[in-house]
Amino acid sequence: MNDHDRVEPTLVNDRALVCLIVQGKIELFGELVARHQQHVTRIVARHVPADRIEETTHDVFVRAYVNLAQFSGPSPFENWLAGIAVRTCYDFWRTRKREELPVSALTTDHQQWMDRVLAAQSDDQFHEQARQREAVEVLEWALARLSPENRTVLTLVHLDGYSVREAARLLGWTVVNVKVRAHRARRALRTMLMNHHRGNADGVQR
């Protein structure tokens, strides 16, 4: 390689880097990984269990590399990569049987936590309850009882706060499909919380 062929990766934008990588300069992919690692990890951390974040983020970048030639259009590379991250997380849940990731049942501690949430008056009390161990456990308990499709849509639309259109773009699904699933998933979540409150979390529609 002569001096003219050398590329200073940090001076090149994402789109130009992608072109160079597709042309065979594989090592430049490391620069894309460095630039977007945190963004992808943040997305993945919201969708998969903590002990699977590393492995799933790894899969996102390998999948991005394999499909790199398909990156085109006016939207930024970051958005394209976010779509791959979300779809990889969705595949994570699709390929795993529910029994493989057991979630413990809720106890009276969780019921008491929900009672404290309802009693919270100030913002401080509200944020305090969100930081509690029980909050994470209730969230995991509820999400584990949803189908991979409903889980992914609920996470994107109701928990992450993406618009239905944006979630549809990330998943590569139709807007109508996401809208229907978002509605069903939220209704299922509410039914679970109600049933648990009544002391019977069985027979919930998934």
Binding site: F29, A45, R46, T57, Q129, A130, A135, D160
Partner: protein, 106 residues
């Protein structure tokens, strides 16, 4: 029996769960992780290269097969045409033979 949640209660629980979700811990993936990604990409690229070579051979085989099939069709058609012409000629000759030779005394 506890009182049923109303919509407002459920919204409150949902809001807390959403905040819990947004404040999930995001781990920092170190240089060792990046090296693993790049190592797998390099080995994948090598496999892809071998795969391309394999695909080249496969394409050659299929192209050869298509040419061989076309040649076979042309040969079959020409053999059929020739044999049909031959048999019609034979039939013609035979007919001529019968036409020219009369078995009855004149």
């Amino acid at each position: 029996m506890p009182m049923a949640y109303n919509d407002k209660d459920l919204e409150k629980v949902e809001r807390v769960l959403a905040e819990t979700h947004r404040t999930r811990h995001v781990p920092l993936l170190g240089p060792a992780w990046t090296q693993r990604v790049m190592r797998d990409i390099r080995s994948g690229a090598i496999r892809e290269g071998n795969g391309n070579a394999g695909r080249g051979v496969e394409q050659l085989v299929w192209r050869t097969a298509a040419v061989a099939a076309a040649v076979a069709v042309v040969l079959t058609a020409s053999i059929v045409a020739v044999s049909w012409t031959g048999s019609s000629e034979s039939a013609g000759l035979l007919a001529e033979e019968f036409e020219s030779v009369s078995l009855l005394p004149e």
